[in-house]
Amino acid sequence: MNAVTQIRSHCVVLPMDNVDTDQIIPARFLVTTSRDGLGHGLFADWRFDAEGRPRPEFVLNLPESEGAKVLVAGRNFGCGSSREHAVWALQACGFEAVVSTAFADIFRANALKNGLLPVQLDAATHEALAAAPGTSVTIDVAEAVLSFGSQRAAFPIEPFARYCLVNGQDELDFLLSRESEIAAFEAAAGRVPWRIR
């Protein structure tokens, strides 16, 4: 994974709570064996009509949303399915951070493993940001601080996930480095309790 240390961008605001991963990318786009090329599925049923034409009123289709790397959404973002495709689709459309007051657990884990930053803000800061679409923000990952205008808001981030982001540490490499401990655990635990043929 590439290191993620700072994100600077204007924001797109999607002022909805409980945005589930079926909205982020509907299941019919998961019929793939690749993690690439999922951008066209992002919010597909909100972005496009039944004929595949962009819905001009949807926030991601507004000209001012072009180039935004930060998505500000309502609480409980990413609930529902465990599909990591939701993260890949957001990244394919250029998003580097999602801001909310709460994230679903699996979505948060998936995001961090791909370098998409989940920024969990307090309600007041979130409200200020959501009320001003287009606001330019700076997110410092090492400091775990999001700032805009004169405001500075700290956000919680699991220390190991932050370490991995800032240093570009790959989690699988880290786990592989623990091989001897895993082998010792297996030796102590004994045999596998079944044989599948």
Partner: protein, 468 residues
């Protein structure tokens, strides 16, 4: 071991620590069983190939096909083959399992089925074990007192390569269902009732432990229905402590401990329930007797009401207003009597033998209403076989419902089992999200009993009245 009283999750967690968590690093948690399927595994195997890694414990990994495969039968009476990109996923899974030595229960195998139906049914789901799968409904296996949770595809690669995961211990949340469910109220109603009360993020960051006399009285299949929807309350996992009901279900299943190992295993499993004095981070008690048959009216599983209730007033809540618009409903109006187009009985929530018996009880001697399409999709080949041995397939067919091949089907509309835009469905699945069952489709979640009642009346109905 003496010491501080521990919860069921504490005991499982501590028994699976390769290394404990510190402030800086999460725990390395060992995984006993890794279930995989065609949709969330191909990119993980690609990662292993890219890095030149093998599957560390193929014997702790089991694959099946369920999400994207068709459930229709062709003219020859056999299941229609997957087509296009879905066929590529199926082929990729076959190749990956062959190349990495992973056991596969493919289409055509007597053990194939929805991943969360076959694990328990084959006796692979053991109390006290850790189980993961690239699927959020992995929480289903918690019904056996296993710590089971859904993971993303990156983590699927982690488990394939190391049989371990980096995890922080979830917080604990005990939900006690006191008393007994009223007649006509099912396990599905119980869990929909809980989610309506605590909301879809109500248990975020927590592992739920379902307790109390109403939970003890449930069959294993019913406990699976409850634990299955833990994720719909935002929980990382949902567990029921194992008891004699659990052991009776598991005894004699193909991959359950056998003979001499059985008694030892049961003795060990009996030590799993939370200690009497164990403290939970959160606790909630619900009066089970007060629960009603439930149905959802909106686009989130938390938007549930008693089936005889009225659609709530959204007030100034934009999400509720949006849900009402999408569903084409008016506040203050009852749902009873509202016409529906499709009934779906199936999914990892409600596709087991007991669910099909419940649906058949309503459909026997009755007929699916004119203009309604009813789909019954058994959860596995084993469920299908048992249902057919009991003649349930005949009950469904004679009632005018379609009897399909096992798979996820219309729960998530990855194959061609989909709602058409604007259609209303009563579904026994787990998610009523916008477009979940097909773009523009509108879903009412309910129990198999309520779904069958809707099928015969062509409208949302109280099964207690239909059966009266």
């Amino acid at each position: 071991m003496q010491g501080r009283p521990r919860t069921l999750v504490d005991k499982i967690w501590e028994a699976h620590l390769v290394s404990a968590e510190t402030a800086e690093t999460p725990a390395v948690l060992y995984v006993d069983l890794h279930l995989i399927h065609e949709v969330t595994s191909p990119q993980a195997f690609a990662e292993l190939r890219k890095r030149g890694l093998r599957v560390r414990r193929p014997e702790r990994t089991v694959a099946t096909m369920d999400h994207a495969i068709p459930t229709r039968r062709g003219a020859d009476g056999r299941r229609a083959p997957a087509e296009g990109a879905a066929a590529e996923q199926v082929t990729a899974l076959e190749h990956n399992c062959r190349d990495f030595g992973v056991p596969l229960f493919p289409v055509g195998d007597a053990r194939q089925g929805i991943v969360h139906v076959i694990g328990p049914e084959q006796g692979l789901t053991h109390p006290g074990s850790t189980i993961v799968c690239g699927d959020s409904h992995t929480s289903t296996h918690g019904a056996f007192g296993a710590l089971a949770f859904g993971i993303g595809t990156s983590e699927v690669a982690h488990v394939l390569a190391t049989q371990s995961l980096l995890q922080r211990r979830p917080k604990s949340f005990a939900v006690e269902f006191a008393g007994a469910l009223a007649p006509g109220v099912t396990a599905k109603d119980l869990i929909l009732g809980l989610i309506a009360q605590i909301g879809t993020a109500g248990a975020a960051g927590h592992a739920l432990e379902y307790r109390g006399s109403a939970i003890r009285a449930l069959t294993m299949e019913e406990r699976m229905t409850v634990c299955n929807m833990s994720i719909e309350a935002g929980a990382r996992a949902g567990l029921v402590a194992p008891d004699d009901t659990t052991y009776e279900y598991l005894a004699g299943r193909p991959f359950a401990p056998s003979f001499a190992d059985w008694d030892k295993a049961v003795a060990q499993w009996r030590t799993l329930p939370s200690d009497r004095e164990a403290a939970f981070d959160r606790e909630l008690t619900i009066d089970a007797a007060a629960l009603q048959p439930m149905i959802t009216w909106g686009t989130s599983p938390g938007m549930g009401i008693p089936i005889r209730g009225v659609v709530p007033d959204p007030g100034g809540d934009a999400s509720l207003q949006k849900a009402l618009r999408y569903m084409g409903l008016e506040p203050g109006k009852p749902l009873l009597g509202r016409k529906i187009d499709v009934v779906f009985i199936g999914s990892c929530t409600n596709s087991r033998l007991g669910d099909l018996r419940e649906a058949a009880r309503v459909l026997r001697g009755r007929h699916v209403a004119a203009g309604v399409k009813a789909l019954v999709v058994p959860g596995s080949q084993q469920v299908k076989k048992q249902a057919e041995a009991e003649g349930l397939d005949r009950v469904f067919r004679e009632a005018g419902a379609e009897w399909r091949e096992p798979g996820c089907s219309m729960c998530l509309a990855m194959n061609d089992d989909r709602l058409l835009p604007g259609q209303y469905a009563v579904s026994t699945s787990n998610r009523n999200f916008e477009g979940r069952q097909g773009p523009g489709g509108r879903t009412f979640l309910a129990s198999p009993t309520s779904a069958a009642a809707a099928a015969v009346t062509g409208a949302i109905a109280d099964a207690r009245e239909v059966l009266a």
